[in-house]
């Protein structure tokens, strides 16, 4: 079977003045359609850089990203990003923030009324239709992130990129939002690539967990399949041996074999 999204021998080097830092080294990864893949690693290992490369926001030094066998090297709505700090435009309402992307992506294929309905449909997918006329400053952090997810979903991306989407949220809101994302994935069958530093989150949500070694020159250390049946229930998993085994594997990787070394 052909890979849906393929990261092919990606190297990334940053030049700052005369200093060069190799951030990523020889990253190879293939993701199937509908798969939920998490990338986990210590901070500074270049996982966000990797996501930016897939999004097209950062160029590669060597190698390329293939989506449906076509090289992608610039940003586009087919790889919509949910940013870590929501990145909603504060001068637009919730509705207008989602509408901005919808108007661009479906400028020709949908009529005005259809686009309006599509925005509302996506807002109700994340249970935010009630706040459509509020501005980002008037809603909570969790709600902002929901709108961020709606904005990305509304672009009908081929791959949904989540950049530590729950990192800035409190634990309860985070759990709630994780359940929402799981439900959406179940319902819509999106292909999702998520950056995270939370082991439980990675195991709970993913089909596969990509573990990265510490930078500089970070590479993929190990890829772990998560053989848990969906739909997954947070409470039932807490005692599930399969879940605990996966969790153990990731923890071992992160804290024994590649424990975080403070660079400074």
């Amino acid at each position: 079977m052909q890979a849906y999204l393929k990261l092919d021998h990606i190297d990334k080097t940053f030049n700052r003045g005369s200093a060069t830092t190799e951030v990523l080294k020889d990253i190879n990864l293939t993701i199937d359609k509908g798969e939920y893949v998490s990338i986990i690693g210590h901070s500074g290992c270049g996982k966000s850089t990797l996501l930016n490369i897939v999004a097209g926001l950062t160029g590669t030094t060597n190698g390329c990203v293939l989506l449906e066998n076509r090289e992608v090297n610039s940003p586009g709505p087919d790889r919509a990003v949910v940013f870590q700090n929501h990145s909603l435009l504060p001068w637009l309402t919730v509705y207008e923030n989602v509408r901005l992307g919808v108007d661009k992506v479906f400028a020709r294929s949908k009529s005005r009324a259809e686009r309006d309905a599509w925005v509302m449909h996506n807002l109700s997918l994340v249970q935010m239709a009630h706040a459509k006329d509020k501005r980002p400053s008037e809603i909570s952090g969790g709600m902002k992130q929901r709108v961020g997810i709606a904005r990305a979903l509304a672009m009908e991306p081929k791959v949904l990129l989540l950049d530590e989407p729950f990192g800035a949220l409190d634990a309860l809101t985070r759990a709630h939002l994780q359940d929402s994302v799981m439900a959406l994935h179940q319902k819509l069958g999106n292909t999702i690539l998520m950056i995270t530093h939370d082991v439980d989150e990675a195991v709970l949500l993913s089909d596969r967990i990509v573990m990265m070694t510490n930078g500089p020159s970070a590479r993929i250390g190990e890829v772990l399949e998560v053989p848990l049946a969906r739909p997954r229930k947070r409470l039932e998993l807490a005692t599930n041996p399969g879940y605990l085994k996966c969790r153990q594997r990731v923890l071992e990787f992160l804290y024994e074999r590649h424990s975080f070394v403070e660079a400074a």
Binding site: A55, G56, L57, S74, P75, G76, P77, R79, A80, V81, F83, N85, S87, L88, L89, P90, W91, L92, L100, G101, K104, V105, R135, P136, S137, M155
Partner: protein, 298 residues
């Protein structure tokens, strides 16, 4: 708490003949008590102190300048001497003999043209400069020097270039107010968070849409700071420039009154200048508040 009670008592005492209807009214005088009175109190709290201070200042002024031999006129003397000008700002008695309202309007027209140009060109240039690191590095020091030049110092140059007073005055307004607008716009554009640029990139906004939908709203608080400094400088500059170039503006009126020793008229004109400057500043600030209400909150 005393005020509302007295109010309701006054209502019940006022019309005993229609007691039935009255009882209903007394039962819910809530609009007056809950909305109107607090609002009036709030307004009074803001308006009364300045009025009191104004009265104090006028009294001190009156006392100081009433003595025989005082060099400046007291308020009462200004009232009698400049009575014609005070009561009718819009009279026309000849090409050079017009009310202060007209003079202010003529000055405002010059400011509108000069400042309007400064706004357009300042925001445009500022946007370009803010986008480019090298343009910023190259031009910022030059602008920082140019902006410290006094408006009046530009006047001889502009007279030499335009050989006419009207465009020269407008140029002085322009050149005085354009620098803060350029610099603030450029800083605002540079400070647009990378997140917003990323959003625009993912959504694939074209440069024009990016300018209108991201850059201008994101930089609006900075732009309005520049615009507000600019309007203040414009108004400072026009009064000074008009003193030198003549004509019928408020600035030349002051100079003309000085030459004719009409000190009372000068003081009256200063009131006009101050109040108009204050109103201009508030207009731009108010506009800025409306335009940036989302950006500032986020």
């Amino acid at each position: 708490m005393n005020m509302p009670m007295r109010k309701s008592e006054a209502i019940s005492a006022a019309s005993p003949a229609v007691a039935e209807v009255l009882r209903l009214k007394v039962a819910k005088p809530s609009y007056v008590q809950a909305k109107l009175l607090p609002a009036l109190t709030a307004i009074a709290a803001r308006v009364v102190p300045p009025l009191v201070m104004l009265a104090v200042i006028l009294t001190v002024w009156q006392v100081l300048c009433m003595k025989p031999g005082a060099t400046l006129p007291a308020p009462s003397k200004i009232w009698t001497e400049a009575y014609d000008l005070i009561v009718d700002p819009f009279f026309v008695a000849g090409p050079q003999d017009i009310g202060l309202g007209w003079r202010v309007l003529i000055s405002l027209q010059r400011v509108a043209i000069g400042y309007g140009l400064a706004g357009l060109i300042g925001i445009g240039l500022g946007t370009i400069i803010g986008q480019s690191v090298w343009a910023m590095r190259g031009l910022d020091p030059i602008f920082q020097i140019l902006r410290t030049i006094s408006p009046l110092a530009w006047l001889p140059i502009s007279l030499a270039a335009f050989r006419d007073s009207q465009p020269s005055a407008i140029f002085v307004i322009f050149i005085t107010s354009v620098w803060p607008i350029i610099i603030n716009t450029a800083v605002g554009i540079r400070n647009i968070p990378q997140d917003y640029r990323n959003v625009a990139a993912v959504v694939q906004l074209n440069p024009l849409e990016f300018f209108a939908k991201i850059m201008i709203p994101a930089a609006a608080p900075y732009i309005f700071t520049g615009l507000r400094i600019g309007i203040g400088l414009s108004w400072l500059a026009i009064v000074a420039a008009e003193m030198l170039i003549g004509g019928v503006g408020i600035g030349f009126f002051i100079w003309d009154a000085w030459n004719s020793s009409h000190i009372s008229e000068i003081i009256l004109a200063l009131f006009y200048v101050g109040i108009i400057g204050f109103v201009l500043d508030r207009m731009i600030a108010g506009l800025g508040k409306v335009v940036t209400r989302g950006t500032a909150a986020g």
